[in-house]
């Protein structure tokens, strides 16, 4: 069973059509939940870190929220340049590194 599950695997939206990406986790002792954006052929680019349930962070058209078992990345009025793979990762227990989900591939059509 995956410790971090992202859904949907892929999402195609029209420009301006708001939506949410989900990241659910089964690990215990969450110490941080991280969101990254990854463009084709490039390394992941840091977006947000959330540490406790109820926390929210915003950056331009993106807002990340955290509950006890999942996080959402809300995309408001997306533009084609928001097209990318969005990765969620958790830091938990005594781990030193992040455990990643498999990502959501987002396509925004003009």
């Amino acid at each position: 069973e995956d410790q971090v599950t992202q859904s949907p695997e892929a999402l195609r939206l029209q420009e301006g059509e708001s939506s949410s990406l989900n990241c659910s986790y089964t690990v215990s002792g969450l110490r941080g939940l991280f969101w990254y954006r990854q463009d084709p052929g490039k390394g992941p680019e840091f977006l947000f870190t959330l540490y406790s349930a109820g926390e929210e962070k915003e950056k331009e058209r993106l807002k990340a929220t955290l509950t006890k078992k999942e996080s959402f990345l809300h995309i408001t009025a997306p533009k084609p340049e928001d097209s990318a793979t969005y990765l969620c990762a958790v830091l938990w227990g005594g781990a030193d590194g992040l455990t990643f989900g498999k990502g959501t591939h987002l396509i925004i059509q003009p």
């Binding site: 110490r31 941080g32 991280f34 990254y36 052929g41 490039k42 390394g43 992941p44 680019e45 840091f46 870190t49 540490y51 990765l87 990762a89 830091l91 030193d96 590194g97 992040l98 455990t99 990643f100 989900g101 498999k102 990502g103």
Partner: protein, 116 residues
């Protein structure tokens, strides 16, 4: 800005060859990591290092080793490359502890390795 540089972006190696992937970070970060990324499997941690000459196994260390002789440089070594090691390799670094500190992991651009 934090910069994590992976010297080789694209490599093609033969089965059985010894392969070195080099990574350098310019922010005096203590912790460095090597991940591999494969379609359908996501990013998986191979090894990490929290200090010079220190190393810890990640989730998939088999077939790999690492070297950290200087704080800014972390090398991933494939002693005898196999086709199953064809992948994108990502180096990353962070300053100190991650949890609750505001620190995050910064990634390099990746090294695409093909083993034929």
């Amino acid at each position: 800005d934090v910069k994590v540089t992976q010297s080789s972006r694209y490599l093609v190696k033969r089965t059985g060859e010894k392969v070195f992937l080099e990574c350098v970070q310019d922010m005096d970060h203590e912790n460095m990591f090597w991940y591999r990324q494969d379609p359908g499997l996501g990013l998986r941690l191979i090894y990490f290092s929290y200090d010079v000459k220190m190393k810890e196994k990640g989730d998939i260390p088999e077939g790999y080793s690492v070297s950290r002789e200087k704080k800014e440089r972390f090398s991933l070594i494939l002693e005898s490359a196999s086709t199953s090691q064809t992948s994108m390799y990502l180096c990353a670094s962070t300053e100190g502890s991650l949890g609750g500190t505001g620190n995050t992991i910064y990634f390099g651009e990746g090294s695409w390795l093909t083993v034929v």
